[in-house]
C-alpha cells in the first residue's frame, strides 16, 4: 500500500508528557504524499501543525505511529528531508553563502562544488550580490529566500515548509508565494507546506489537508489539481473553494 507514495504518515500521535500531566497534540493522523506534490497542511493557529512537521523532519519523536518514505520506514533525521523554518532561523554568524552551504558541508560535499551549488540557488531565489552579507543586514523577505535556498541546496527529496511566510507583510507574502511556485516549477520536489492562512493554501496547493484544532486530527482533504495555475484569488472558483474550506475550519481560539 504505502509504496505508491513518496511519503506516508501512519497513525501518528504525539503527546507532551511531564511528571504530572500530559497534553495530546497530534491525535492519530494518517496521510499520504505523492511524488513532487505540493501538499498544504492547513489548520488553525496553535493546533500542532509545527509539531507534526517536526516529527516528519525527525526533530521530534512521535509518541505513537510511523513515517514511511518510498515505502520504507524511517525514524529520526533523514538526509532526504529538509525544512524551511518558521522563525527564519538563519545562523547569524554565517554569511548568506555559508548559510546556504551548511547542509552540503555536513554531507562532506567538496568546497568548490558547494560554492557552485550555493550560488545556483542564491541566484534562483534572486539574492545575487548578497552572498557575503550577514542575516541581520537582510529584510524579512530576503531572509526567508535564504532559508528556501538553504533547504533546496542540500538536495532533499522532500521539503518541509513551516509557515515560511507567516511573519512577512501582505505584499511580500504574495510575491513570495509566486516565487515559491516558480522555484518549485523549475526544480520539482515534494513539498509539505504548513499554514494557517486559507487563501495561501488555496493559492499554492495541489491538495490541502485540513486539520482540526488541538488535538489535531485530519478533518478533510481537498483536491485542487483541477484548478489551473497561476490562480486568480478573485475568481469565482477560487472564492467558492475558499468558502467551502472556511466553513469547515475550526475557530482559532488561541488568537
Amino acid at each position: 500500500m504505502a509504496d505508491r507514495f513518496k511519503l506516508s504518515v501512519k497513525n501518528l500521535s504525539k503527546a507532551f508528557v511531564t511528571k504530572k500531566d500530559d497534553t495530546l497534540v497530534i491525535d492519530d493522523i494518517s496521510m499520504d504524499v505523492r511524488e513532487n506534490e505540493f501538499l498544504v497542511i492547513l489548520g488553525p493557529g496553535q493546533c500542532g501543525k509545527t509539531v507534526l512537521l517536526n516529527m516528519v523532519a525527525g526533530l521530534l519523536k512521535p509518541t505513537l505511529g510511523e513515517i514511511y518514505m518510498d515505502g520504507e520506514k524511517v525514524s529520526g533525521l533523514d538526509k532526504r528531508v529538509r525544512m524551511v523554518f518558521q522563525k527564519l532561523a538563519l545562523l547569524p554568524w554565517l554569511t548568506v553563502s555559508k548559510n546556504v552551504q551548511i547542509g552540503m558541508k555536513y554531507a562532506k560535499v567538496p568546497k568548490e562544488q558547494r560554492e557552485r551549488v550555493a550560488q545556483h540557488y542564491i541566484d534562483l531565489v534572486g539574492l545575487q550580490g548578497f552572498e557575503r552579507s550577514y542575516p541581520h543586514q537582510l529584510s524579512g523577505g530576503m531572509k526567508q529566500r535564504v532559508g528556501i535556498a538553504r533547504a533546496y541546496a542540500s538536495a532533499p527529496e522532500v521539503l518541509l515548509m513551516d509557515e515560511p511566510f507567516g511573519q512577512l507583510d501582505a505584499q511580500t507574502r504574495y510575491s513570495m508565494e509566486d516565487e515559491i511556485l516558480k522555484i518549485w516549477d523549475k526544480d520539482k520536489r515534494t513539498i509539505l507546506f504548513v499554514t494557517n492562512n486559507i487563501e495561501e493554501a488555496v493559492y499554492l496547493a495541489d491538495r490541502i489537508v485540513l486539520l482540526s484544532k488541538r488535538p489535531a486530527k485530519v478533518k478533510d482533504v481537498f483536491d485542487l489539481t483541477g484548478l489551473p495555475r497561476p490562480r486568480d484569488n478573485l475568481s469565482e472558483e477560487f472564492l467558492r473553494i475558499r468558502q467551502e474550506i472556511a466553513d469547515q475550519m475550526d475557530l482559532d481560539l488561541g488568537q
Partner: protein, 268 residues
C-alpha cells in the same frame, strides 16, 4: 480505534516512567558526587596520602569549627567575634553603596546633565580595583573602621551605579510617551514609570555589589586589620594552622551564601 487509544495510554505511561527515572537518577548522581568527594578528601588525609601540614580532613575542619566558636587562640578572638566584626564593616559599606549608588545611577540614567557631570569622574575611578585604594585610604582616613568601610563601599558602589543606570535606560519609550501625553511632569514619569521598570536591574546591581563587597572585605582584612575573618585566615597562615584557614574559608563562603539568599528573599 479503541486499541489505538489503549496503545497511546501505554506509550504515555512508559514515557512518564522514563522521565521520572531520569530525574531520580540525576539527583542520585549529584548526591553520590558530593559524597565521593568528601570521602576521598577524608580518606586521603586519614590514610596519609597527603600530609596534614598542607591539608586537613573534613572531620578535622568540623572539630576546629566547634572549637573556634569559643577558643581565642591563636589569633586573639573567637569565631563569632570575627564574624561580627566582618559583618559590621561589610554591612555599613554595602548599605552606603546602595543608598548613594542607587539614586545616583537612576538620576544619571534619566537626566542627561547629571550623567555628563558624574560620568568622567566615575570612569576615572572605576578601573582601579577597590583593593588598590587601601594604602591611600589608610593614609587619608587613618587606621580603623573608616578605610575598610570605604573600600567595601567603593567595590559595591560601582556595580550598583552601573546596574541602576542600565536598568532605567531600559524604560519602555512608549510608556514614557503615553505618560507625557497624559500631562505628567518629567519627574513624575521618572518616579512612577522609570524607577519601577528599573527595579529588576537595580536588584541585580545590589546582588553583584553584595558579592563584590564581601570578597573585597576579606582582602581588606588581610591587608589592614587585627580582626575579622580575613585577618583570621591570614593568621592561620602565619601559625601554619590549615584547619583554621579552612574553617575561615568555609565561614566566609557560607555567610556569602546566606547574604545572597536574604537579598533574593527581599526581592520577592
Amino acid at each position: 480505534m479503541n486499541t489505538n487509544q489503549e496503545k497511546l495510554t501505554k506509550a504515555i505511561a512508559r514515557e512518564r516512567k522514563h522521565i521520572k527515572n531520569k530525574s531520580r537518577n540525576l539527583l542520585f548522581t549529584s548526591i553520590i558526587s558530593i559524597v565521593v568527594l568528601l570521602a576521598l578528601w577524608e580518606l586521603s588525609v586519614q590514610l596519609g596520602w597527603i600530609t596534614t601540614r598542607f591539608f586537613c580532613a573534613p572531620s578535622e575542619v568540623l572539630n576546629a569549627l566547634i572549637e573556634k566558636l569559643t577558643n581565642r587562640a591563636p589569633d586573639g578572638a573567637t569565631l563569632p567575634v570575627h564574624i561580627l566584626s566582618s559583618m559590621k564593616i561589610s554591612m555599613i559599606g554595602f548599605l552606603m553603596a546602595v543608598l548613594i549608588g542607587t539614586p545616583l545611577g537612576l538620576l544619571m540614567g534619566w537626566y542627561k546633565p547629571v550623567d555628563k557631570f558624574i560620568r568622567p569622574a566615575f570612569n576615572l575611578i572605576r578601573p582601579i580595583p577597590a583593593v588598590g585604594w587601601i594604602p591611600l585610604m589608610i593614609v587619608l582616613l587613618g587606621i580603623g573602621l573608616a578605610p575598610k568601610v570605604f573600600i567595601v563601599f567603593l567595590s559595591a558602589f560601582v556595580a550598583v551605579v552601573l546596574n541602576s543606570y542600565a536598568g532605567i535606560k531600559l524604560t519602555n519609550r512608549a510608556m514614557i510617551n503615553v505618560s507625557k501625553t497624559c500631562g505628567a511632569s518629567n519627574f513624575t514619569i521618572f518616579r512612577r514609570v522609570g524607577i519601577p521598570s528599573a527595579m529588576p536591574m537595580v536588584f541585580t546591581g545590589w546582588k553583584v555589589g553584595l558579592g563584590l563587597s564581601w570578597s573585597t572585605l576579606v582582602a581588606a582584612e588581610m591587608l589592614a586589620s587585627n580582626d575579622g575573618l580575613g585577618y583570621m585566615i591570614l593568621a592561620g597562615r602565619q601559625f601554619m594552622r590549615v584547619n583554621l584557614i579552612m574553617v575561615g574559608m568555609l565561614t566566609i563562603g557560607v555567610i556569602g551564601l546566606i547574604l545572597f539568599a536574604l537579598l533574593n528573599w527581599l526581592e520577592k
